[in-house]
Amino acid sequence: MRATLSAPEPLVPESPVMDPLAEPRSAAGVLPLRWVAPVFFASGFSALLYQTVWQRALFTHYGTNVESVTVIVTAFMVGLGAGSLLGGVYSRDPRRPALLAFCLVEAAIGLFGLVSLPLIEKVGALTLGMGTLGTGVVSLLLVLVPTTLMGATLPVLVAFAVRLWGNVGRSVGALYFVNTLGSAAASFAAAFFVMSHLGQAGTVQLAAGLNLGVALLVSLVLRRGRA
């Protein structure tokens, strides 16, 4: 994984697109790359844990029939898509700090994660008996904020990586790789250990802890960069 991100090619942009105002000098240099891989891996890991638990919690309230399953899965996708667009809009201006945005997004996801299960429980109890459309709307509203935030992380970090490498395919491939690998690892962890040992609440707490840890780590890197 790290070998992928520190491939033998020079970590210097090959097209003159890097804006020195985009990030503090060292944050836009080599240093953050050591952190980007593990933090984006952790981000993908926690996202999949949330998805596993939130879907399960929503199924408990809205049923496991295929109509509920489909609308809940689609609601996740809508959130990720909306987030991707917002992240793309944000990343258009190279002066905007990509890593700081990523840090804040991760912190927000973690904070939402901590209150997510009680929120789903309360909303689920208040919206009993809704039809397929109602289930879809409520599910969408419940997961919209966190999934939008999750969806925004890829384009924000891609913009950051392209400024470093000047290569879109490599940037997307590398980031998509570590993030998806994190999600794959979370799937296996959920199947073999996490869900059976931690239950739903414990799994969400683990995911939130990872998000907040990522946010803390990135903020420390940014502070070091400014120092």
Binding site: T4, A7, E14, S15, V17, D19, L48, T52, R56, F59, T60, H61, Y62, G63, N65, V66, S68, T70, V73, T74, M77, V78, L80, G81, S84, L85, G87, G88, V89, Y90, S91, R92, P94, L128, G151, L154, P155, V158, A159, F160, V162, N167, V168, G169, R170, S171, V172, G173, Y176, F177, T180, L181, A184, A185, F188, A191, M195, S196, G199, Q200
Partner: protein
């Protein structure tokens, strides 16, 4: 490569990937016996394939001036054709591998997303210039990919899976990808002769795969469900594939839901009684006068047929999540009349959701003979919260009777919620008031009971009298008193919505 083409490829690859994920989950779920781990294991390999595809794509993305010429589109087209051809063969390949497998097979077909996973960074590389708007343009591609995935979820998961078999949907996806490949080839800047040759190659390759479909997908679920134990020539009597799952019926009348035992078409408590249907007859011993009954889960309809005909029952509501079970009733004379019995109302919904959406409904008996305790989703109907929900729907003196499938944790959960209980084989009757087991009342009820107008036991026939004696001995011998059960389940941890019981054991 133009951004528009990149968007179309990203959307289509999202659609195909998610459609195959749904098909793989359907098939792998049967192979893995509907375990909760089926989905995360398949999802894990699916994502691992996407991740490895992304890694691989980086080798192909070293060219930093990618948007010129037609070479990028040719490379994407070659990937597109190969990825879709391999995806079509994934399920027949998995079924073939299953016949050599003992125990749970690995969901290796998820790794085939390595080809589809490589497509996304590849089209991003060739379709998006490395300038300050790269992040924004990649976000468009990502959205196109997600829109395609959402379309796969809705179109394939909601509609195609209800009207076509796995083989049929695979054929539709292959046909669509052949069309997509033809459009991509048209934009590759090939000479007329080259284009004709490429189109013929795609047509012959894809057409050959489609023509081989009936052979490739033959006895799919027989091989997937029984794996190395599949006997040559064995065929299910019925295979029902719909968006709610897969139901298979063996020639001996055993019915399977998602590859897991789900009962037998049998209402006769005598003889081998493979489905232990005598427990449904035992209900008359547990409640003095059950009039309104709710049954969660229909399956073969055998339990519902018996309960609907218990003396005194005026109304039976059955809540079943998969309409496919109702469609099978007509094929089996033991239960065929259930579909037309005016006392019986079958509703298609999630049992738990039905209870929450009918807060005022009250029943004398609620029966749940739904799923084995180790299956995915079992905690939905075994947890403390579910027991409390059931409790709120019982009339005064009402009894909840459910199949614990020998789970100590399920038994303990119910006995924690209800102060009174009696075990009947692997089933458990629980209530808020004392349960008086009255075998004399039960015997009288059995002698009055008729199914389809035919007496279950005729008082005047010696053979029936002996059978009734044997059944009475069987019922009384299977009873387990509460103190003994509490001792037996003392160390069991109750099932909750949070710990999800046995699902992840």
């Amino acid at each position: 490569m133009r951004l528009l083409v990149a968007l179309a490829v990203a959307a289509f690859s999202g659609f195909v990937s998610l459609s195959y994920e749904l098909l793989w989950f359907r098939v792998y779920g049967v192979a893995n016996g509907a375990l909760a781990s089926s989905f995360p294991l398949l999802l894990g390999t699916y994502l691992l394939g996407l991740a490895l595809g992304s890694l691989w794509s980086q080798v192909l993305c070293r060219d930093t001036s990618p948007t010129t010429g037609t070479r990028p589109l040719r490379l994407v087209t070659a990937f597109f054709v190969f990825a879709n051809g391999v995806a079509y063969l994934s399920i027949p390949g998995f079924a073939a591998a299953c016949t050599f497998t003992e125990g749970s097979p690995a969901p290796w077909m998820g790794l085939l997303t390595i080809f589809l996973g490589a497509l996304f960074p590849l089209v991003a590389h060739f379709g998006v210039p490395a300038d300050t708007r790269a992040g924004a343009r990649v976000s468009y591609l990502y959205v196109a990919n997600i829109v395609g995935s959402a379309a796969g979820s809705l179109l394939t998961g909601f509609w195609l899976m209800d009207v076509l078999s796995t083989a049929g949907i695979s054929a539709v996806l292959l046909g669509g990808s052949m069309l997509g490949a033809a459009l991509l080839l048209a934009g590759c800047g090939l000479t007329r002769r080259q284009l004709a040759g490429a189109l013929v190659a795609v047509g012959v390759g894809g057409g050959g795969l489609l023509a081989a479909g009936p052979v490739l997908f033959d006895r799919l679920y027989e091989r997937v469900q029984f794996q190395a134990k599949t006997e040559p020539g064995f065929r299910f009597t019925h295979v029902v594939e719909n968006r709610s799952g897969v139901i298979t019926v063996a020639p001996d009348g055993t019915i399977y839901g998602g590859g897991t035992y789900d009962g037998v078409f049998n209402t006769d408590p005598r003889g081998t009684d493979k489905n232990l249907i005598f427990r449904a007859y035992a209900l008359s011993a547990l409640h003095p006068a059950p009039r309104r009954v709710l049954m969660i889960g229909l399956s073969s309809g055998s339990w519902a047929q018996v309960v609907a005909n218990l003396p005194g029952v005026e109304e039976l509501t059955v809540v079943e999540i998969n309409p496919g079970y109702r469609d099978l009733l007509a094929h089996y004379p033991q239960v065929a009349s259930l579909a037309h019995n005016p006392k019986v109302r079958i509703e298609f919904d999630d049992g738990r959701r039905w209870l929450t959406t009918h807060p005022d409904a009250r029943f004398d008996i609620i029966v749940a003979n739904t799923m084995v305790h180790w299956a995915g989703g079992s905690a939905h109907v075994l947890s403390r919260e579910f027991n409390e929900l059931v409790k709120a729907h019982l009339s005064p003196g009402g009894v909840y009777f459910f199949n614990t499938t020998a789970s100590h944790r399920a038994s303990r959960t119910a006995t924690d919620v209800f102060p009174y209980s009696v075990g009947v084989a692997h089933c458990l009757a629980v209530a808020d008031t004392p349960i008086q087991v009255d075998l004399e009342r039960w015997r009288a009820a059995m002698l009055r009971m008729r199914i389809d107008g035919v007496p279950v036991f005729e008082a005047g026939r010696e053979e029936d009298r002996r059978a009734l004696d044997a059944l009475e001995a069987r019922v009384s011998g299977s009873l387990e008193a509460r103190p003994r059960m509490l001792r037996r389940t003392d160390a069991a941890v109750p099932v909750t919505d949070d710990n999800m019981g046995h699902e992840w054991d």
